[in-house]
């Protein structure tokens, strides 16, 4: 019993020892904050990656793709059975976008993706990422509305003319303006990546639209044929794709699948069917993606050897996800060293306390305390200090995580610049995810280090000869 009493009393009377656990506390708090924020980022990123990419992707090894995609889809359904919930044929090709900004043309490389928007929406979060200029969600469709047409210069003029009395000259003008309108507002719509179409000003100012709704964009892409040749087509911006992953938002341009097939010369003249080079697949929740991918790969091989490659979304983004995981583990190793350093602090202060308590150790032995008993006093004291340090650190860390956005605001005000620039990540708040398992592991690790650091001083205290301890001054 005396062990508990003395541990407790030492804890309450030795403030210097409490100082030594401040580093444990800070280490634990930092580890919890860093892990929670990184887990939050990774989680959000996976979420967004997964939202843009379907669960599984069957990709053609040839750039030109395959015409018989209905057959391929039937095969996928055969092999996958009930696990396959939805499929979307897709034609993806690199290309160049060009559109007019003021007097100049803006040109940049993009990934042009031909899709059936409704199908695509069924295989992932495509529809959830579509917005108009005001940031309102829009349905997954490439239809160019009359309103957009009327917004063009020719359209506006046409509307004015509608009020006037019809005559021959007016008819001719109207005919001319309608042609102009068709030129200014191409029939086919395109959904453009938000970062392509806008310029981010930062400082809470609204984003500047370079390619507004209803404006015309030109796309250039390689055409099908023996010699590579550029194909060109014009589209009207009918919406923006904003997933929060800058990699996608700054490269993706979605266009109607058939129009892209036509423009790329990928329609078979005999059957009238176009080619696709990807099938995006939505899988039943809870199904093992890797197993299913292997199964599908085998099924595809039977259909046509070496023509298809089946990816899971994680494989597609493997390097990025792996990089985040590596960053997190390296940070954890480094931060754990902080706690290890704190362990040496405990060791040093404990050794001093043992020296200071030499006579008390002698007294306790004279009163019948055993060697193990004395050792346990100091081991228990170490454990208690570790518990206080990691406990306070845990609470502090969790509170920090809970109020991280508020803290960020205060820091931003003090430092007079934004600590967390949302333009880089498109997150309006810092994402956090507290994993109880991680917290438990961190606290247990800190406790372990605190106990390990007190083993040596405790052994020294226990081994002390009672007579020499009593004579110690």
């Amino acid at each position: 019993m005396y062990k508990y009493l003395l541990c407790w009393r030492y804890l309450r009377t030795r403030y210097i020892a409490l100082a030594s656990v401040i580093s444990v506390m800070l280490g634990v708090a930092t580890m919890i904050v860093v892990n929670s924020v990184m887990a939050g980022f990774a989680d959000k990123m996976r979420d967004r990656l997964h939202g843009v990419l379907a669960d599984l992707i069957v990709e053609s090894s040839s750039f030109e793709g395959f015409i018989n995609y209905e057959e391929v889809m039937a095969r996928i359904k055969d092999v996958g059975g009930d696990d396959i919930l939805a499929m979307a044929p897709t034609m993806e090709t690199p290309g160049i976008i060009r559109f007019k900004v003021g007097p100049e043309y803006r040109t940049q490389p993009v990934q042009i993706i031909g899709v059936h928007p409704e199908d695509r929406a069924k295989t992932g979060d495509f529809a959830e990422h579509l917005f108009d200029e005001q940031g309102n969600p829009i349905p997954p469709s490439f239809a160019v509305s009359d309103e957009l047409k009327a917004r063009s210069p020719a359209g506006q003029r046409l509307r004015e003319l509608r009020q006037e009395e019809p005559d021959a000259f007016l008819d001719a003008t109207r005919e001319y303006l309608e042609k102009q309108q068709d030129d200014q507002v191409p029939t086919h719509g395109a959904i453009v990546g938000y970062a392509i179409a806008t310029y981010h000003l930062g400082n809470d100012k609204p984003d500047l639209f370079l390619a507004g709704m209803g404006s015309k964009i030109s796309l250039a892409f390689p055409k099908h044929g023996r010699t590579p040749e550029a194909g060109l087509d014009a589209f009207t911006v009918v919406g923006y794709f904003k997933s929060g992953m800058s990699e996608y938002d700054s490269t993706h341009v979605y266009v109607p699948l058939e129009q892209l097939q036509r423009a790329r010369n990928l329609i078979d003249p005999e059957s009238g069917k176009g080619a696709v080079n990807q099938i995006q697949i939505k899988v039943r929740e809870g199904a093992d993606l890797d197993v299913l991918a292997d199964k599908l790969q085998l099924g595809m091989e039977k259909l046509a050897e070496k023509r298809f490659r089946v990816w899971t979304w994680e494989q597609k983004q493997g390097p990025l996800l792996a990089a985040v995981a590596i960053e997190q583990s390296i940070l954890n190793i480094l931060l754990f060293f902080i706690i290890a350093v704190a362990g040496f602090g405990i060791l040093a202060i404990f050794s001093m306390i043992v020296v200071e308590k030499t006579r008390d150790i002698g007294i306790m032995k004279a009163l019948g305390a055993s060697t193990a008993g004395v050792r346990n006093i100091f081991l228990g004291y170490g454990l208690l200090l570790g518990a206080v340090g990691s406990g306070v650190g845990m609470i502090g860390g969790l509170l920090f995580v809970r109020y991280i956005n508020e803290i960020e605001k205060v820091l931003s005000v003090i430092l007079k610049h934004k600590v967390f620039d949302d333009s880089i990540y498109y997150f309006d708040r810092i994402p956090t995810l507290v994993e109880p398992r991680t917290v438990v592991a961190i606290v247990a690790g800190a406790l372990f280090i605190a106990v390990m650091a007190s083993v040596w001083p405790a052994r020294r205290a226990a081994k002390m000869h009672p007579v020499r301890a009593l004579r110690y001054e």
């Binding site: 019993m1 009493l5 004279a366």
Partner: protein
């Protein structure tokens, strides 16, 4: 009277660097049950060492310690720890109270060492009452919750006596119990010890360098040059 505790041919030397310094060579002494024996000797004569050997705080290089005719100095550690806790009570010149604990907690210490957590929880009231009674017996009933630093020298020694006796030991070993107190206070402490010795039939071995104090014992032995030199009949 039967011999209660006896030292037979005790030898002990200490090592100072490379030199062996012999302290005791062949000490023979004994105390009967209920007897108060004073050991006097100049400082450095090995009085304290003898007391430590008798109380199992140290092990002799030669000779033996017997309790009721049974050898006790070669017992295993566990048993020696237990005997220090139950059979012997120690009083030191510098009181040696634990500074973090109150007077009451200090006095409870032998009981706390004796009992585990659950035994304590079961018997905490009895343990507490025992310690309170003991403190009242030594005249510190009003000082229960004081820290040692808030007590005077005489009070601290009384608390130390209460601590030594609370576990109901058979043998009390006192190492210069009045050495650090002024004459009047020292006399008070001594009278308390004398009373307790009679009251409880305690065997007491009292080490001192003060002839005055030694004279109040039942019997006085002198330790000089590592041996018990002469037996001085007590002058009561």
């Amino acid at each position: 009277m039967t011999t209660h505790i006896a030292a037979l041919g005790l030898c002990k030397s200490y090592r100072k660097g490379k030199i062996e310094v012999p302290v005791l060579h062949g000490v023979d002494m004994e105390a009967s049950r209920g007897e108060l024996v004073a050991v006097i000797g100049a400082s450095g004569s090995g009085k304290s060492t003898m007391l430590h050997l008798l109380g199992l705080l140290d092990q002799p290089d030669g000779g033996r310690v017997e309790l009721d005719g049974r050898r006790i100095d070669d017992r295993p550690d566990r048993e020696r720890d237990l005997m220090r806790n139950r059979t012997f009570g120690f009083i030191f010149q510098f009181y040696h109270l634990l500074p973090e604990l109150t007077a009451l907690e200090n006095v409870m210490m032998p009981h706390l060492i004796r009992s585990g957590l659950f035994a304590y929880i079961k018997e905490r009231k009895a343990i507490r009452r025992d310690a309170e009674e003991m403190l009242e017996r030594v005249g510190l009933g009003h000082r229960l919750t004081h820290q040692p630093s808030e007590l005077s020298g005489g009070e601290m020694q009384r608390a130390a006596i209460a601590r030594a006796l609370v576990g109901r030991p058979e043998v009390l070993l006192a190492d210069e119990p009045t050495g650090n107190l002024d004459a009047a206070t020292g006399q008070g402490v001594l009278e308390l010890l004398r009373d307790l010795n009679r009251e409880r039939g305690l065997t007491m071995i009292l080490v001192t360098h003060d002839q005055q104090i030694a004279n109040q014992a039942d019997r006085v032995v002198r330790l000089a040059e590592g041996r018990i030199e002469e037996w001085v009949p007590a002058l009561v």
